[in-house]
Amino acid sequence: MLEIRSARKTFYKGQPDEKVALDDLSLTLQTGEFGVVIGSNGAGKSTMLNAVSGAMPLDRGQILINGDDVTNTPVHKRAMRIARVFQDPMLGTAASMTVAENMLLAELRSKSRTFARGLNPKRLADYKERLSILGLGLENRLDTRVELLSGGQRQSLSLIMAVGGSPDLLLLDEHTAALDPRTADLVMGATVRAVDALKLTTLMVTHNMQHAVDYGHRVIMLDAGKVKLEIGGEEKAGVTVAKLIDHFSVKSDAMLLGA
């Protein structure tokens, strides 16, 4: 379960271009719930995700994961519980390291690292099996450096790395936005399968309204650092792209997204 309690974050405090990115934002995500976050640019989506992951400290407020206050826990310690897939395929993987080494790093996310040999035969067999689910042939390229993979392959690898070890919370930061439509569908399909199968508590930020309609248990719309609208339960089933776009306050945004 994720709880964000009255989170506040102001950029450029005291300067003329002061900007309140999170305005006492509160949000609760139940264990196993899949929340989809939408909102126009500057609404605070990325700030919220960074605050949850620990990459950005809050001015005020609390972040709780499964009831434990992690507000002051640094990123690498929060990583025991949180897995994240970034928008940029380059960010989520270590480019100069091999596919297998990246899988190893992810596997050790929630464990303490020892002086034992990293890539043992048992692990390699396990990685082969987990990567074969994607159907991209990555299982035969365990020794390939990640920089030689395509963006879609890298992002799929990031996803497999993130969902392995069943994190308490999965953060997806527009993770299909940088991909071509076909690859985006493939990665999204793999995401939904993994989230369903492992019952992961997931927070996904997206600009793709169709994804917001199709996937997840609840749509959360942010505006000016606050939760403007939440659509869950029965209502979520009946929602359409057009209805969602109507809720965007800025007209130009609605036009842009409708086009």
Partner: protein, 308 residues
Amino acid sequence: MMEFLSSTFTSYVALVPVTLAQSLILAFVVMGIMIPFRTLHFPDLTSEGAYPLGGCVAGVLIAAGVNPALAIIAALLCGFAAGCCTALIHLRFRIHTLLAGILMMTMLYSINLRIMGKSNLSIFGTGSVFDWAPFVTPGFPAAKIIIAGIIGAAVFVALNWFFKTEKGTAMRAVGANPAMAEAQGISVWVSTIGGVGLASAFSATSGALMVQSQGFADVNMGLGILINGLAALMIGEAIVGKHSVFRQLLAPFVGAIIYYQLVSLCLAAGMPPPDLKLATGLFVLAMLALPSLKRGRGGAPAREKFRE
């Protein structure tokens, strides 16, 4: 012409064993440059101060009658501390790695002088680790080749093992992608401080061995060691490559051996020693410029994006 070639060849061949001994000792500095530069993506200049630091510490201890092996261990620990300081300056104050290294090596110059109390110190005639070489007469290059070779092989095997362990893989990830490493639960601080410290420990070890090999310590012995080490690393990487842990670790040793043989060849051919730094600098420049020259006109962006 033939006469020149034959005299060059004769004096070069006579120098081969001495040069080999020297290069095996200096291979540790090259290792100390490679680890931050390649494994951690932390261009580090501390070695220029850590190498004489190791030399001064070992020199003073040996002159005071301390066991030469213990003197090396003390030098190693001092080097480790120096490297940790450089990494800390960078991490805590967000100072660029190169500047942190320059600060550290400048400060180390005074510290080295303080340690020795004078600018040079002779330990000629006292015992050294090279006296313990089996089968050979102490004092000859063969003894140095054997001892430095054994230590080098041990370091290579140990690092090749370490960088494939869970902890070692995590350390490499910090160099490859710090943001990703952090998101995978790896502490960037611990890995950077430990890695840069380890590298400077190697540089200091090299200094301690060199002092025992040449019989004196000098506060200026580090002058230009960095550019020599960098040149050696470039040669090593050009020959054995750098795309696996094994190759990347082998490169400093292969590079050091070949580079110092080339230097010796140049000197044997009558190149004036003062020109050596210019030649080395031009060589490193050429190696670094090669990728950009291959790309053709335009080149790289004027300012590289620095990692904070």
